[in-house]
Symmetry: C2
Subunit: 166 residues, 2 copies
C-alpha cells in the first residue's frame, strides 16, 4: 500500500468513526486530513483534497477551531490562513472529552437534577425518582472522572489504571 492510498483510507476510517459518534462526517474528514498532513493547509487545499465547497470547508474548519483540535498556523509571506491539527493524541482526546462534556453531558445532568423534584408521593413517583437518581448519580461520577482525566498526564493515567487493574 502506498502513502496516498493509506492517507485516503485513514480519512475514511476517521470519518466513519466520527459519524458513528455523532460528529459530522466532513468535520471528521477535515480533521483527519490535517492530522496526516505534514504541513499546514489552507482552506483551498482542504477544498481540493476533499472535493468539498468553500462554504463547507470554511464551516468545518471553524468548528474544529472551536473544539481546539485545529490551530491557525501563520505561514510567513502568505496572506492566506493556514491550519494544522493538534497531533498529541492525548491532547486530542482530552479536548474532545472536554467539549462533549460541556455541550452534552452537563445539560443532561442539570435536567436530570430538575426531574428529581417530582411532587408526588405515590409508589410510582418514588420509583421514577429512584431511576432518575440512579442515572444522575452515575452520570455525575462519570463526569467527575472525565474532569480528573483532563487534568492528568497520559502516562500516569494509563500507568496507574493498569497497575490497578492488574
Amino acid at each position: 500500500m502506498n502513502l496516498s492510498e493509506a492517507k485516503a483510507q485513514f480519512i475514511q476510517t476517521w470519518a466513519r468513526l466520527g459519524s458513528e459518534w455523532g460528529i459530522n462526517r466532513t468535520m471528521a474528514q477535515v480533521h483527519a486530513l490535517l492530522l496526516v498532513s505534514e504541513n499546514p493547509l489552507s482552506t483551498e487545499d482542504v477544498m481540493e483534497q476533499l472535493s468539498i465547497s468553500r462554504g463547507n470547508a470554511n464551516m468545518n474548519i471553524r468548528e474544529l477551531l472551536n473544539w481546539n483540535l485545529v490551530y491557525k498556523a501563520p505561514v510567513p509571506g502568505e496572506r492566506k490562513e493556514f491550519f494544522r491539527a493538534e497531533k498529541d493524541i492525548w491532547e486530542v482526546a482530552k479536548r474532545i472529552a472536554r467539549e462533549r462534556k460541556k455541550r452534552e453531558i452537563e445539560p443532561v445532568l442539570h435536567e436530570l437534577d430538575r426531574l428529581r423534584k417530582v411532587e408526588e408521593d405515590t409508589p410510582e413517583a418514588k420509583n421514577f425518582i429512584k431511576t432518575v437518581n440512579d442515572i444522575h448519580g452515575f452520570a455525575s461520577k462519570l463526569d467527575r472522572s472525565v474532569e480528573t482525566m483532563m487534568k492528568a498526564d497520559e502516562t500516569w493515567f494509563f500507568g496507574t489504571l493498569f497497575k490497578l487493574f492488574k
Copy 2:
C-alpha cells in the same frame, strides 16, 4: 411538576442525548419509556405512548433487545410479548460500552493496524506511520480499559478511581 410531565421530559432528554451520541432518537425514546415504566409494556403500548408506527416500534424494540438493554418479559395469561428495560444503570453502561466497543472501536483498531504497514521509506511516510501508531496505541489502551471496566463492579470501580484521583 407532576409525574407524567416529568416522564415525558425524561424521555425527551434521553432521546436528545442519544441522538447526540449517534443513537437513533426513537430507539432512545423507547428505551427511556421502558426505563420509567413500572410494568412491562407491549409493542402496542409503546406505539401509543410515543405515537409511532408498529413497524418503527418493532424495529427499535428489537434493536434494544440486541443491545441487551431490554428484555422480553412474559406476562402470565397474555399471548402478546411484553418488554422491560434493564434498570441497573451500571449494567446499562457496561452493555452500551460493550456494544459500541465491538461494533465501532474494534473495527477501527483493526483498520489502523492495517494502515501502519505503509511500504514507503520517506520522511513523510514515517510521519504518517507515527500518527497512526499514536492513535492506535491510545485507542487500544482505551479499549483495554473498557474491557476491564466491564468485568469490574461499580462500587469498586468508582471507589478505587476516586481514591486514586484524590
